[in-house]
Assembly symmetry: C2
Homo-oligomer: 146 residues x 2
DNA sequence: TTGCTTTCCTATCCGAGAAGTCGGATATTC
DNA sequence: GAATATCCGACTTCTCGGATAGGAAAGCAA
């Protein structure tokens, strides 16, 4: 169980944009270089973030990307869901063990475990905003463990 | 982010064994058939569970597998860690974005998020035992959401 | 002692999907 | 029109989850 680079890179660039504030649009290529990430890949991720309405783009020379909303209104969950499709993927829904076992009719005592896991993951991630991540590492640490 | 079939199948067969109680050893092949899982694959997973000390095996004719400990002393976390290596894999440790960024020296405000996520996942899973999973689905549901 | 059953263990295969690349179209600025 | 960017699909590469295969060792039973 782990988060993919889509989500991780997505967070990195979102956070990068959050830190830029109102400095005008930031080109994808610049961001990639600054953050040490593959440029073409970053571009693709930004595309997803834009389609999800998290960032806005300005085309042409002097163009680039901006955060579409205020950094305290964008949660980590928002970013991950934009980059990947879900945060935590419950097998019962997506990668069923078998249609029989995982049908609604068939009782399964394991299912509630995954469901609850998803709930807790989402709860945590929805509660952390990009603004929070602009704090120092130790401050974020204190914040999330509370 | 999702759990693999290693973990899911591992849970299914562990639970199966838990339900068998003291009926003597259960052959892997029987279990696989009953649960509708690929036999050879189940065998491999049982191997892992045995090496982790969760199940014991009896070789030869009339052989099979037993739960090595009482079902209330084995947690879902135990099973998943036996089947996969970790429950939640923090990229900072395993699949580093880059050695520079993810070194201890370099501050990273994202890291605490993954760390906390891991903590919460582990907390939940460590708190659910195989004995718990022998209850009805609705009862498990009530239990975990408490 | 000869089968039969079963665990044990390694090696391999296959496909999906993660990770990343490429090429070109379109838009904007200077 | 040259330079800079986004836009977007298609394509490549490679890892790893998921599964199979085959044989060695161990124990039972006749």
């Amino acid at each position: 169980m782990r988060v993919t680079t889509w989500a991780e890179y997505g967070l990195i660039v979102s956070l990068h944009l959050a830190k830029q504030g109102n400095n005008g649009p930031t080109p994808a290529r610049d961001m990639a270089k600054r953050e040490g990430l593959p440029a073409d890949y970053v571009e693709q991720i930004l595309l997803k973030l834009r389609r999800a309405g998290l960032v806005s783009s300005v085309r042409g020379a002097k163009g680039g990307y901006n955060l579409a909303r205020d950094s305290n209104t964008i949660s980590v969950k928002d970013v991950i869901e934009a980059a990947e499709n879900r945060t935590f993927e419950v097998n019962c829904d997506v990668h069923k063990v078998s249609t029989v076992r995982c049908s609604g009719g068939n009782p399964c005592s394991i299912r509630p475990v995954w469901r609850e896991l998803q709930r807790r993951v989402d709860d945590l991630l929805a509660d952390i905003s990009l603004e929070d991540l602009m704090l120092q590492e130790s401050e974020v640490q204190a914040l999330v463990s509370a």
